[in-house]
């Protein structure tokens, strides 16, 4: 006998879809502002910030020799190179909106786009 669907399954499904949709719309609103500065941090500590209106190629080398290359061009920042195993940060592509981020988890490196006016991202979850 194959197990049948139960009413609670449907509620669970709908609740998660709604939660995802709500988060998505909320983020669309929060992330629609163009960012001004890319702030790079490793292990939670800021190691540099770079204005997005420039054109720059910055190499980050960690204590273990791990390497990330961040490129800033046309108001956007993207990870050009990384020697981490998954290279998800490279595949992610460019970010430029206020609050967006690139995260290289294996290297604990994070790039966060912030707006100049506030000096920090509009969304901060603490």
């Amino acid at each position: 006998m194959r197990e049948k669907w139960k009413r609670n399954d449907i509620w669970l499904f709908l609740a998660i879809v709604l939660a995802a949709l709500f988060l998505f719309l909320w983020q669309r609103a929060a992330f629609s502002v163009k960012g001004a500065v890319a702030v790079v941090s490793r292990d939670g500590e800021t190691i540099g910030s770079y204005p997005l209106d420039g054109e720059e190629r910055i190499v980050f080398t960690g204590s273990g020799g791990e390497r990330n290359v961040l490129t800033i061009r046309d108001g956007e920042a993207y990870m050009e190179e990384a020697d981490c195993p998954d290279r998800l940060c490279v595949k992610q592509g460019p970010v430029g909106k206020n609050g967006e981020s690139i995260i290289c988890l294996p290297h604990k490196l994070a790039v966060q786009i912030i707006s100049e006016q506030t000096g920090e991202a509009d969304i901060l979850v603490k």
């Binding site: 197990e3 139960k6 009413r7 609670n8 949709l21 998800l88 595949k91 901060l124």
Partner: protein, 166 residues
Amino acid sequence: MKNKTAYMGLFLSFALILSYVESLIPFYFGVPGVKLGLANLAVLLVLYRYGWKEALALNLARVFLSGFLFGNLFMVIYSLAGAAGSFLVMCFLKKTRGFSIMGVSMAGGVCHNIGQVLVAYFVTKTAGIVFYLPVLLAAGLLTGLLIGLLAREVIKYIGKESVEEL
């Protein structure tokens, strides 16, 4: 019951094969942490066939073995967080008896992804990681649903220990 050890071994190797298959698939949705969660199929089967203790043992063994076989210590910690969250919720939902195996699996998939986002947040201390949450929720729901449907079909045949096994 004398064959239970052998069956548990079988389930463990099944889980490891699924992990291996999963590591071969270049499955990328533009968001880190989105995975099929194939190995959860083995966990679900053991959870329904034996119980939470056996499933917990399988889960731990699977995370450590596959982590060190196909990844590194970092991946072990990362997937342990996902596995822990999803396992707790799956056990709880199964206990309530209000959910089918599909519901249990969907909740598991979603919690797995939430657990991983939490780890990512604590590792990078970057709030921007919530950017991934909607996609991860939806992805966890769909992969969980898929695994749950698969488990439902498999359980028809190996859901309970049959007479010749005892």
